[in-house]
């Protein structure tokens, strides 16, 4: 049990996806403008990551047993795209409330590199099935965590009049991210 806790903590703090591994940067910078959409996006990504891992891990075993493991990229992205579409349709019909709050983020998640990234890195690091699921869950939590911090910082950045003109807009957000990831480096070495 302690092993799974370590996986989750290390994915949230030490190997945080947007801040330490450069995965899922686009939504991290793009959707972090206000707290509500940041939280919604974070939860939706966590949800899709766990489900995608739950589906792609067995598929990889199937591909390996047939000796066509090199088709990984093609199969995974199609499976994820289909899965996201399915979830969206299912939510629209059966969970209207949830669909209204999370549904709008779902189509964007297909091309989010963090989702495909977590599926592939689970295979590459040789995790077994429960470990993969916890790893995906931790990655999603880490993403949510980073999104919430970023949205909090950006809500204080609304007035940009005191920022040099060239740095207004995207560059100042990148500087913010740089400082955030610098502080997250302090977590490095927590686990050997």
């Amino acid at each position: 049990m302690i092993k799974y806790v370590i996986i989750i903590i290390s994915m949230v703090l030490v190997n945080n996806y947007p801040l330490a591994q450069f995965l899922g940067i686009c939504p991290f910078l793009g959707v972090s403008k206000d707290m509500d959409s940041a939280t919604g996006m974070g939860i939706a990504v966590t949800f899709v990551m766990v489900l995608a891992t739950a589906v792609t891990w067995p598929i990889q075993q199937l591909l390996n047993s047939q000796g066509i493991g090199y088709l990984q990229t093609v199969v995974f992205i199609l499976v994820i795209a289909a899965l996201v579409q399915l979830i969206e349709m299912f939510m629209k019909k059966n969970m209207v409330g949830l669909y209204k709050s999370l549904g709008i983020y779902l189509p964007l998640i297909t091309t989010n590199c963090a989702v495909l990234g977590v599926c592939i890195s689970n295979i590459d690091s040789g995790y077994n099935y429960p470990q993969s699921l916890f790893n995906a869950f931790g990655a999603g939590l880490g993403f949510l965590f980073a999104m919430i911090i970023m949205a909090g910082v950006r809500s204080k950045l609304v007035d940009q009049s005191r920022i040099p003109k060239s740095f207004q807009g995207v560059p100042i957000i990148l500087i913010t991210a740089a400082i955030m990831s610098l502080s997250f480096m302090g977590f490095g070495g927590m686990f050997s």
Binding site: L78, Y105, G169, V170, A178
Partner: protein
């Protein structure tokens, strides 16, 4: 859409619509693989190969693919080419394959490629699409090489593995790490803002320009605050 000259299409991706610095798409591989010049160059060329091939094929099929299922079709085409590039790199440049690691298969979700397929290749002729792919690919590669040079020079004092600054000062390894990536990206983008004469072009956020689903959501409803996935 006005008719553009072939050269304008090619030059478009280099500066005016540089995918990384102006459209702000494809940020993940930019930050992750610009740790050194060779890595940045390898990533840029791999992405360019996929971009040119997928632009050509999608442009060829633009009259056959039904509109409602075009995104899955594009992804299939792109994923096929990414697999080819992955296998080629693994076979001929195993060192590059190791240092790019996870980011090589992740070219498939690089928004530059899907974005260009959606915005350019499905509306233009095969030759124009190929040119657009080359231009965008060169813009991407150029940015990666510039960022890679800055980070490698400051971070380890070398350029392409040749010692340059390492004799004068010790490398600041933070530049090759994650915070350095964000920092250099911000500085380069601010510099581009500074030299761009057309000040009105400066973006205050992430617009719909590079978004793959820009056509479907004219009102911006599907893409909350103009997010580019």
């Amino acid at each position: 859409m006005e008719k553009k000259s072939k050269l304008a299409i090619l030059a478009n991706g280099l500066i005016k619509e540089n995918p990384v610095l102006v459209l702000v798409i494809g940020t993940c591989p930019t930050l992750a693989t610009s740790t050194s010049v060779t890595n940045g160059f390898g990533m840029g060329i791999s992405a360019m190969a996929v971009l040119v091939c997928s632009n050509i094929v999608i442009s060829m099929l633009r009259k056959i693919i039904p509109d409602s299922v075009r995104i899955p079709c594009y992804i299939t085409v792109i994923a096929g080419f990414v697999t080819i590039v992955q296998l080629v790199v693994k076979a001929f440049a195993p060192a590059l394959d190791k240092s790019l690691g996870l980011y090589l298969p992740l070219i498939v979700v690089n928004c530059i490629i899907l974005g260009r397929a959606e915005m350019f290749a499905n509306k233009n002729s095969i030759f124009d699409s190929a040119l657009d792919g080359i231009g965008m690919g060169l813009g991407f590669t150029l940015t990666l090489v510039v960022m890679g040079s800055i980070r490698e020079l400051l971070g380890s004092g070398t350029w392409c593995g040749i010692p340059v600054l390492s004799r004068i000062m010790p490398g600041m390894s933070i530049m090759t790490l994650v915070p350095g990536g964000f920092f250099v990206y911000a500085i380069v983008m601010a510099f581009v803002h500074y030299i761009t004469t057309d000040k009105s072009k400066i973006k205050d956020g992430f617009g719909c320009d590079g978004c793959a689903s820009a056509d479907e959501c004219s009102d911006g409803s599907a893409c909350v605050k103009g997010e580019v996935a």
